[in-house]
Amino acid sequence: MRKILIVGATSTIAEQTARRFAANGDALFLTGRNEARLTAIADDLKVRGASTVATQVMDADDLKAHAPMIDAAEAALGGLDTVLIAYGTLPDQDSCTADPAAAVAAWHTNAVSVIALLTDIGNRFERQGHGTIAAISSVAGDRGRASNYVYGSAKAGLNAFLDGLRHRLFKAGVQVVTIRPGMVDTPMTADFDKGPLFASPEKVGADIHKAIEKGTAVCYTPGFWRLIMTVITSLPRAIFHRTGL
């Protein structure tokens, strides 16, 4: 039985992943910004078989709230062995282009706050000598593109941080899982026209669950995104600059 902290548990992808953990009888500590939604999700996960579900309202942008939240999660579940970082924002690229503050805010949520959280959690897991740390990044971090490079660069920073954390914690027996979803049909992408590349949150949740169970270092979900991103990252600039990606 795992003892799992999910930060950003009201995200659709996190919820689908949590249902898999619940069906295995795992114990869960959920944080999110909206109390009513946290409660509804917690009730659902209890019915689905989770052995314990506790919740705490927290805005991950508030870095000072991190350590007390992790303490509370450890106290509620009697320790932690798995962490899933599932929150993030998809900022509007145009406002990030126009307004430096918007660009910095996007970085604060998608990179800075995650790095702060995982620094603390990484140290705790290193001391206890086991555990799995998973964070939802994005295929957007593989190459900066005009259409969303502020979001993409924050995820790229996160990717490099996770690579280094994995390298460092290898000796301690702690696994670090980088999850790179492609486009997923969630409220985050509600305004997009859905083409055939969009995956269901159920599929992505199942992939994430499997990656955490296996300790996969880098998980593209759905898997075909690994191929797409290989092509995009190897496009010569002369061609890449002419695309609308």
Binding site: T12, R37, A40, D43, V47
Partner: protein, 442 residues
């Protein structure tokens, strides 16, 4: 090219909502809309009762959370978008089953209530609505109304079978049924004609919880109404058994350019199915999945009917004239060379549904698919309506895309009372059609 979003299962008629909203969490009030609103569950209604052309659809698929389940009493509370498949997956391993299930598990709880669905156990268990303990409705006047058979009983009765028109159904509490395991004892008997069907049915209803028959809708003359009678009970515990769930079966990959079910294939398919077994009777043990949901094994099987889609016709005729009326219906269908190989006959029981507009009533029900061949299909269905109306029967709105307003009024004598409970903000293609005062050419 984008496919129209949110079609009905029959893929007829074409319809495009002006706006689709997918609530992320259980809403506490209705979203503002200057066009009529309708909840869309999982799109398994065959006709146009789940469509809202130029209106607002609330896609309830995201409201798929359980709220509470007591494994000791089998009472489950969930959001309206939870699928019956989700409930089964959760409760069967804990010794519980749906009190009533239709022929697909891919319907939402909200849809099951709004259409007051029935199953092979209607003669003992009644409709789905008979097992609803409580439901919550959001009304456009800003009220949240909790309804039970006792509390706000009028609105409860209007909502069960109320086609989603009495407000937004957000959550419900259902009383499940105890089982010992996931397996069924199934007894299959061949019958040579309609008389034999009625005899077997009468002899089976007492000892079998589930009864249904497949009929060869292409057979005529002395073979009229021949088919297979399937009767079953839940099997007593077998101990631990593997669970061969079929949820991840193959998908019918595309809409075929013409219907695979057509006058050329109809008779051979039916005859082959009638002759599929050499023995006139067989007994076996089946997992509940293939027993209750044989078609769920192939996702999107509705695509086999080609680009024009299909119409399903399900009617019930009262016991008094049932033999003659069913014979007349079958003869008419066979003479037209129409129909499909998915034709089902069942005797309903007399368990009364709480639903004001519920379709099932004592009598015999016949359900068939018809590939949409345009005018000739619609004329045939109108002719079937004439037979059903003369017999004092009814046609099932959940499967209908074409009955006339006059026929609807005759089939549902509580219509006027029901109209008093319809929320003025809600409507559907079906509702606009059957309440229109102008007669439209059929």
């Amino acid at each position: 090219m984008t496919a129209p979003s949110h079609p009905s299962w029959g893929r007829y008629p074409a319809s495009q909502p002006a706006r689709v909203q997918r609530p992320g969490a259980r809403p506490s009030a209705l979203p503002a809309s200057d066009t009529p609103v309708l909840a869309y569950g999982n799109g398994r209604s065959y006709g146009d009762s789940c469509l809202n052309n130029d209106g607002m659809l609330l896609d309830m698929g995201s409201l798929d959370r359980f709220i509470a389940f007591d494994p000791a009493t089998g009472v489950i509370e969930c959001e309206a978008g939870v699928l019956l498949a989700d409930i089964l997956e959760l409760v069967v391993p804990q010794g519980w089953f749906l009190p009533v299930t239709p022929g697909t598990q891919f319907v939402s709880v909200g849809g099951a209530i709004a259409n007051d669905v029935h199953g092979k156990n209607h003669h003992v268990a009644g409709t789905f609505g008979c097992h609803v303990r409580e439901l919550e409705l959001l009304r456009s006047n800003g009220q949240t109304v909790v309804c039970t058979p006792e509390q706000n009983a009028d609105l409860f009765a209007a909502t069960v079978g109320g086609l989603g028109l009495t407000g937004l159904l957000t959550r419900a509490t259902i009383a499940l049924k105890r089982i010992e395991g996931p397996y069924m004892d199934v007894d299959t008997l061949r019958f040579a004609n309609l008389d034999e069907f009625f005899d077997i049915s009468a002899a089976s209803d007492r000892d079998y919880e589930y009864t249904v028959a497949w009929v060869d809708c292409s057979a005529r003359g002395t073979n009229l109404g021949r088919g297979w009678f399937m009767r079953a009970n839940h099997k007593p515990a077998l101990g631990q058994q593997p669970d061969p769930r079929k949820r991840g079966g193959p998908t019918f990959p595309f809409v075929t350019p013409v219907s695979m079910i057509n006058p050329v294939t109809l008779r051979p398919l039916n005859t082959l199915y009638f002759r599929r077994k050499f023995k006139a009777r067989s007994r076996d043990t089946q997992h509940y999945q293939p027993y209750f949901y044989p078609l769920d094994g192939i996702k999107h099987w509705n695509r086999a009917y080609g680009p024009n889609g299909f119409l399903q016709y399900q009617c019930v005729v009262p016991h008094a004239d049932a033999r003659t009326a069913v014979a007349e219906l079958l003869e008419r269908i066979a003479a037209a060379g129409a129909g499909s190989f998915l034709s089902v006959l069942k005797v309903f029981g007399d368990v009364q549904s709480p639903g004001l507009m519920s379709f099932p009533r004592p009598g015999v029900t016949l359900a068939l698919d018809f590939p949409n061949r345009g005018r000739e299909t619609f004329e045939l269905l109108d002719a079937l309506d004439d037979i059903v109306r003369a017999a004092g029967g009814a046609v099932y709105p959940a499967k209908d895309a074409r009955m006339s307003a006059a026929a609807f009024r005759e089939y549902f004598p509580n219509l006027e009372r029901f109209q008093g409970f319809v929320d003025p903000a809600f409507s559907s293609n079906f509702w606009r059609r059957v309440t229109s005062t102008t007669t439209s050419p059929s």
